[in-house]
Structure formats: C-alpha cells, structure tokens
Symmetry: C2
Subunit: 536 residues, 2 copies
C-alpha cells in the first residue's frame, strides 16, 4: 500500500482569513435560504442602528426600505438618526470581521461580536459583486458618502468614491443590492422581525417600506430611552481561573489587591481582607501582570469561600414588567397572562444576566393548527427577536424541559404563548449568526424557573377553561356512543331502544355530574410543586 | 438629552483575533456543557487522525485514552499510526485558527475548516492553563516531542520543549489536560461517538480506554481503505457568479477557454463551443484574471443553457450500500430494513454530494420510551457521527418533513431508526462546531427523497406488523369496556351479567372479524405516493 510522506501532505498547508472562512461558510452567519438571508440583513443593520442611537443618547428613528431590482435582486436600505460613523472608522466598522466597539466591553448591547455588518457586506459582494453605499453624518455639518467593499484575502476594507456632502442632519444610512434573497410574509419574515423589535423596544420608531411600496409605521409608545448603565465590572462569583488570569495580565494596577478592587464588582478592601483570611498564602502585593495559573487558581478558590453581594442590578437593563405587559397585550390580546421579572443571576465568567418571562393564554396566543391550537415560544435576547435556530436555544430547551401538565397547560393542544427575554452584558450565542442563546446550564435553569413562575400565574385560569372544554368534549363523545349502543342492546335484549337510551344517559350523568358545571373533577394536588427557588 | 459624539464612541474601537473571538465564544465550537465538551475533544482529534491516516494511505489504528486526574480534571490522549506532522508545520497545524490543508481544496474529508485541533488546545488552555503535549514520528527515524500553546492575542502558536526523540514508529499522539468536562454514558457520549465512528468506518480500528481503565476494542471488519479520489473539480451547474469570479482571478491560465477546461469538471473543448454558441458576446480569449462581474454573470447564464453530464461519481466516496447494511445490522439488529444509495447531486457552487439512507424497523431500532417506543434519526456527515445540534441539521429537517403516515410509519410511537450519511467534497455545516449540516434546499430535498425511498422499502412489512398490533390493542381495550358495560346493563335491565357479556362480545367480534388474524381492515390506497423522483 502506497503511503504519502507527511511533507508531501503538508505542501497543501495554507492559512486563510476569517473573511475567507465566512465567505465560504456564510450559512453560519445566517445566510441560509433566501427568506432567512433577507431577515438576517435587516436584523444586522437594524440592531446596529439601535445600539448606535442608544449609545449616542438619541431616541431611535429607523427607516427600513426593501425594494425589488431587476434580475430578482433586492435593494435594502436602512437609515437611522444615530451618531453616525467617523470617516476614519467607517471601513473597519462596516467591513472588517472581528472589529468593533463592543467585543472587549461588558456592556449590555445587541451586537457584541464585530461580525454582523461586515457579514452583510460580504453577502452583497458574493451575490452581486457590488459594494455597499454608505452615507454618514456626524453632526455639525460633517457628512460624507462612499462605497465600501471587503477584500477577503486579508480581511481589509476597500473604500471608493469618498466624498464630502452637504448634509445638516445626523445619522447613518447603509444601502446594498442583494441576490439570493426573498421577501416573504409569515412567522419568519422581515415584517415580523421588525414588528417584534418595535414591541420589545417601545422607545423606538421604525418605518418599513415593503417591495410593493406599502409603508408600515411602528410608532414609539415611550418617549424615554432605557437606562444606559456604564460598562459592567465582572462579578467574582463564577469567575474562572483563565478569566482572572486574562484580566490580571491586562491590568494597569501595581498590586493584586488594587487590581481586584479596580476590576471586579462588589470587591471592597473589606473583601480583600476576607480573601486574605480565606487563603493567607496569597501575596496581595504581587504584580498582577506576573500572576501565574496556580496563583490565579488559589484566588478563584478563595473567592468561593467568601460571601459576595449579588451583582448590581443596574448593569443589566431588562425590558421591564410593565412594558412587557403592554407589549404582550398588543401582540397577542390574550384572555389571561402572567409576567415575571427575575433578579439578576450570574453565569460563567462572573457575567450578570436577567430573565423576564410571560405566559399568555387565549386570544391571539399560540399557533392556530388545522384542528385546534398549539403553544409557541417567543424568544428575545437583549430585546432582539430571535426567529431562527430555536432547537439550539437555551429558551427552547428550558421551555421544553418544563412539566407543563403540572400547571394544567398542554403546549401541544392549547393556545398558549411563552414570551422570554434574556438580558445580559454578554450573551453567549450558540453560533455566529446570533439567533439562539447557548444552552449554558445556569441560563437554562434560570429561564425554567422564570417560566414556571409565570405558568403558576395562569394555571388556575387555564385549568378552569380546559376542564370546561374537556368535560364538554368527553360528554359529547360518550353521548354519541350511547346512541349506537342503545340500538345494539335493543337488538340484543328486545328492550325498547328509547328507554334503554334514557337509562344509559342517566348512568353517564351519574359518572359526569360536573360535566355541565365546567369543573374538573380531578383537583390537582396544590402545593405539589418541585421547583425550588434559588436564593441570591 | 445628552448626545455622545461619534468620535467619543469610536474611542472604544478595537480589532480582535479569531482566536480571541473563539476563546470568548467557545460554545460555538462545541464546548458547551461538560458532557458535550468532552465528546467535542475526542471528535476533533479522532477525525484528524482518520483523515491523516487515510491521506497517508494507511489503515487507521487509533488509540483513545480518557483518564481522571486530580481536581475533577481529565487527561485525554489520542494516538494514531498516521503520517505524523513535520516539525515546521506542527504549530500551525495544531494551534492556529483558520489554518489547514483542506480549506481551499474540494476533497471529501472529515475536517475542512482549519479550526478543530486549535479549538481543543484553546479549551485546554482556558480550563487548565496547560499546553498540549505532542509526539510526532514521520517515519525514517525522524521523531520529536514538544509542548504547544496558543497565543490568543495574535493567533500564533507557542512551542516549548522541542526535542528530538528516538522512535522508529510512525504516527501522531496528542495529549491534553482538561477541566469542565465530564465522561458520561448514553446517547451523547464519547463511547457512542466512537462506536458509531467505528461502524461507519469499518476499515478503522479504534481502542477506547475509559476512566475506569476498561478497554473497548473496535476491530476493523474491512482490510481495505476507501477509495481516495483526487481533489474534485467543481461542476459548472450550480456555480454562482462570485465563485466563478474567484476561480478566474486565481487562475494561472492565459485564456478563459483554457481556464474553464482546466478548472471545471465535464468541461471539454466541445462544451466551450456550445458555450460560445449560447452567448457569442463572450470573449473566450480574454485573460481570466481580468474577468469582470458582468462577464462572469454572462458565463454563468451561458452555463445554464448548456447540457452538462452529471458530476463524476468518483469524487465523492459514500460508505456503500453493503457496508451500511452490515453496520446497521450490527448496531440495531432490526427485524427489517431497507438501504438506499442515491446518485451524485450538486448544491451551490457546483459541489457534488451523495446521500445514503436506511430505514430500520424493530429489534434494537428506535428509542425505548416509558411506554412503548419512538423513532430516532442517526446522522452522519462524511462518515462522522453527528450527535448534537440536531434541530439545525438538514437531515433532521428532511426527516421531519416527510409524511410518514403514507408509509404506515409513526415516528412518535414505533421502533424505527432512520440512518443518513451525506458525503461531499465540501459539507456546509450550520456552525463552526460542525455538528449539523446546514439546511440548504438542495441537500434537504435530496435527503427527503432518499429517506422516502428507504421508507417505501419497509412499508409493507411495517404496515403488516402495525395492523396486527393495532387491532390486538383495540380489541383488548374494547373487551375491558365490555366487562364494565355488561355489569351496568345487568343493573339496568336485570339481565344476567354473564349472558350480556357473552352477547356483547359476539357483537364486538362481528365488528372485528380480522382482529385475531392480524390484518388491517383498512387497506391503504396503494400507489398514492406523491414523491416524484428527480431525474439526473
């Protein structure tokens, strides 16, 4: 058997850039299928506009226009009234994979990876060969326009036609021509994405112009921006040795004690004393830049022995119970609903997060099936609607892991909607397409607790409705059977069919006395809940 | 309202490396949860060993050892008898994100991204701070060992303790210490992964030593390597304008005509003439390096007007019908099965792929539930078992999109296993973790057709079994009801309960004459299939 020399094999060894990788694997960024690809473009540009406007302290006004061009192509344009992008950053901001303002900071924002905008540009280039057209005004009469492309070989922007323009307004507008996309209606459409975005961000105004020219205006119902917290300090609970080491090596502090106080939340000089007591072998005067793995591990173990105050709720800004109630009423007009807002928790790395959940029943809740209904789950991450990859999402895993029967809820057959928003300074997505939250144990657990709490809030109402429906249905089925049986018994015994039927019906009513009163004869054991709420 | 200047915001602008990105987002590489993370490490190292041995023309012997270390850590070591890695490439091969021998070639292999091995190293570094230990022998007495780490700031390897060693054998061994992982048993375990790998690669021998010290040896049942085709030429059908442009700009040919013949499959000088006829405005003597988007688009449109011979089956090597039959018999010992191997198809970019499917019923098929069974889907991509992210997989989408009722199959209640392997020179995965095949339309469609064909092969058998079971079950249920009813009728009419019961049973038997004979009284309409097979 011929063998090939290792050196022969390694003649083929190459390196490639991140841009080349994602060009070949654009499905990983969400460009998978014509319908989804269009929604991905809208999603990336709209989330950037929202983040930018909020960061600039401006109530967002966003304009999305989708129009058809020849050869089955589309022109998509998104404009905002945000702070714009300075000339010297525009190439990197919109056309470089892994570059951005958010990756290295613990701030609650929608974008966090430095990929999204470059991905849109890449997709336009791949499908039409054209660059995107950008107009940016950063106020004070400073405005420019240009075309931007991305050189995949080296992950660098190519800017052409840069020109100063006369524009007193403020904001950014990006426009691209795309093929291999399709404007659709329905559950996974751009319209639905924008509608849900407007509802989870009531301070936003969004206008959508669809390919037929029809305009949809989602008006803001709140005239105040959500609170904008400063970058969060990571919390020591849940910090890994590796994280601590990275922070230490990047620190400007001279001593470990000051490094800890400067870098981490809830770390006061009192806490430093407690940590010293927990492990006296740790030298708090050491230079953090010289921290070794073993020393970092000692610190992490000492952290575990100390009591920490829960993370500051202020770093993470949830939508808010009142806003969710309004939003869910607007989308679903349910018969009954329950909203729950949980306290902040931590997942790996000392990262705080907050889960909000609502369970809604009836009205427009759930999904209409051929016969009857089924339940559905509306997922949000940092107020961004998550429409795809639900199988990989922590929210889906949590919801599917709940014993809905305990609450009298059947997700297979009832008009139920479960609404979940997870807010965090850094959401761990399951993929670079950012359509699902990674199924990290602490996050899944917390979502379960939140949804179960919301389910408890509707269970009495739901059980009542379902009992009434169920018994009515069962009674009907048995009555039909009784008719047929009466006939057969008549043939069998020679008795009068009408009399037999009457007597059988009496027997049935004896077994189902409450059928007409609408109460479930099998009362669930109240207080049989097994969910135990975690103390902070 | 205070606004923040764009320049103020962009003070925070940074670039980060791919390594930093995946360090922060390791869940995207499959390191999500302790159980799955362990399987990911085994998966990445084993697939590299398989690819290397096959590329070297060597029947693979792979040794996987998983042992516990202190502090809840594990030591994982994978050794092979492959060609090894030359000293000057070992850092880049094992410790650089986006570097490898396969990314730029259209060859059917398991690894294709240049991420897997570096991801393992990264994960070890993150969880224990330690480098991995490598021993490589490339034959002829040339062997060395070293430690390798990855500098995330710049995506570069850090090699320490490089030493020549005395070793006459051949092969590579990689060993790392990991925390945050857990050895589990069950459906998503390393054992199951290796078992399925051995079965879809019958030419391989794999030994697994688990943390208890127990050894499992999966012996090879085939003493021949699978055929190893040369790198595939992409096929013009399904080629996008962008792909053609990239190929043209990278071409060494002087003219477009020779570029086409050299680069693409099934492209002869006859075809060139046909393309000229289809669009005489195309200048075949042009320099391919100067090809514009518009010219490339013309070519792609001309390709569509020409008839192409289907792609060479030789570039894609499926497992093979006979091998699958043996494998499925070994794993499942089914009562009945049907195996289907389809012809090669193309998906976007002119990439050939082949789908093989099997449907198995009974024996060890399906999943045992509390009461009864349910169906399950065994997924493979290029012979690699896919255990996770099933919700995002083309195979899952295809299988769930089938109307199983037409074949008398119920995936909710029957012991059915569906086996699918998709082979290709480039499989589009849904995420960098490579656990699911992207739901590209052409791939999902082809899998559906394959599985439906296999389902047709078992439907007669399954319907027969199910009818027998069903009627037996229904008869039993009614008999129980008859007992209770006889008693009530006795109370009602004063008739003798025993006599009433006998007569009711006679009525029942009249309605279910065939219940005891095991035939379904409702014959399905044969020939009511709506799946239409595509012609090549």
């Amino acid at each position: 058997m011929a063998t090939t020399d290792a050196e022969q094999i390694f003649k083929e060894f190459r390196e490639h850039s991140a841009a080349e990788f994602f060009k070949k694997n654009r499905q990983m960024l969400g460009y998978s299928g014509a319908g989804r690809s269009l929604v991905t473009i809208v999603h990336e540009w709209v989330t950037n506009s929202l983040d930018a406007s909020e960061e600039g302290g401006i109530l967002p006004d966003i304009d999305v226009s989708i129009s058809k061009a020849e050869n089955n192509r589309y022109i998509i344009k998104v404009s905002d009234n945000g702070p714009g992008i300075p000339k010297n950053f525009v190439g990197k901001a919109l056309a470089t994979i892994f570059a951005g303002t958010k990756f290295h900071r613990y701030m609650q924002q929608r974008g966090q990876q430095g990929i999204g905008a470059a991905g849109c540009l890449l997709f336009s280039q791949i499908t039409t060969g054209k660059p995107i057209f950008v107009k940016s005004s950063i106020g004070k009469g400073r405005a420019y326009s240009c075309h931007i492309a991305l050189s995949t070989a080296n992950n660098k922007p190519i800017i052409t036609d840069m020109a100063d323009i006369d524009d007193k307004s403020q904001g950014l507008s990006v426009e691209g021509e795309f093929a291999d996309i399709r404007y659709e209606m329905g559950e996974h459409s751009a319209y639905e994405y924008i509608r849900r975005t407007a509802l989870s961000n009531p301070h936003t105004q969004i206008k959508l112009t669809d390919p037929s020219g029809q305009e949809f205006l989602f008006v803001r119902s709140v005239k105040k921006l959500p609170a904008r917290p400063p970058p969060a300090k990571p919390h020591p609970a849940g910090l890994s040795t590796n994280d601590l080491l990275d922070f230490a090596h990047a620190s400007q502090s001279r001593k470990i004690s000051s490094f800890l106080v400067d870098t981490f939340a809830r770390t006061t000089s009192n806490k430093i004393s407690e940590i010293r007591e927990a492990d006296p072998s740790i030298d708090m005067d050491e230079d953090p830049k010289k921290l070794t793995w073993e020393q970092a591990e000692k610190l992490v173990n000492a952290f575990k022995k100390v009591k920490w105050i829960a993370p500051d709720a202020g770093y993470v800004v949830p939508i808010g119970e009142e806003q969710i109630r309004i939003a869910v009423k607007n989308i679903l007009s349910p018969e009954h609903m329950s909203v729950v807002e949980r306290r902040p928790r931590i997942f790996r790395g000392g990262v705080p997060f907050i889960v909000e959940a609502a369970v809604a029943y009836g009205g427009g809740s759930g999904k209409k099936e051929e016969e009857g209904y089924s339940g559905n789950i509306l997922r949000f991450g940092n107020r961004v609607p998550l429409l795809f990859d639900s199988g990989s999402c922590a929210i889906t895993k949590a919801a599917n892991g709940i014993e809905w029967r305990r609450y009298g809820i059947d997700m297979e057959t009832q008009p139920v909607s479960v609404f979940v928003n997870v807010s965090s300074v850094y959401l761990p997505y399951s993929g670079v397409g950012k359509e699902a939250i990674a199924q990290e144990d602490e996050i899944v657990e917390e979502i379960k607790l939140a949804v179960m709490e919301a389910a408890r809030g509707v269970q009495r109402y739901v059980r009542g409705k379902q009992a009434a429906n169920f018994n009515a249905g069962r009674y009907k089925a048995i009555s039909r059977y009784v008719k047929q049986l009466s006939k057969d018994i008549g043939d069998l015994t020679g008795a009068d069919t009408g009399r037999v039927e009457k007597k059988l019906n009496d027997i049935v009513k004896k077994h189902f006395p409450k059928a007409k009163e609408g109460e479930d004869e099998e009362e669930p054991a109240v207080g049989s809940e097994v969910d135990v709420e975690e103390e902070a």
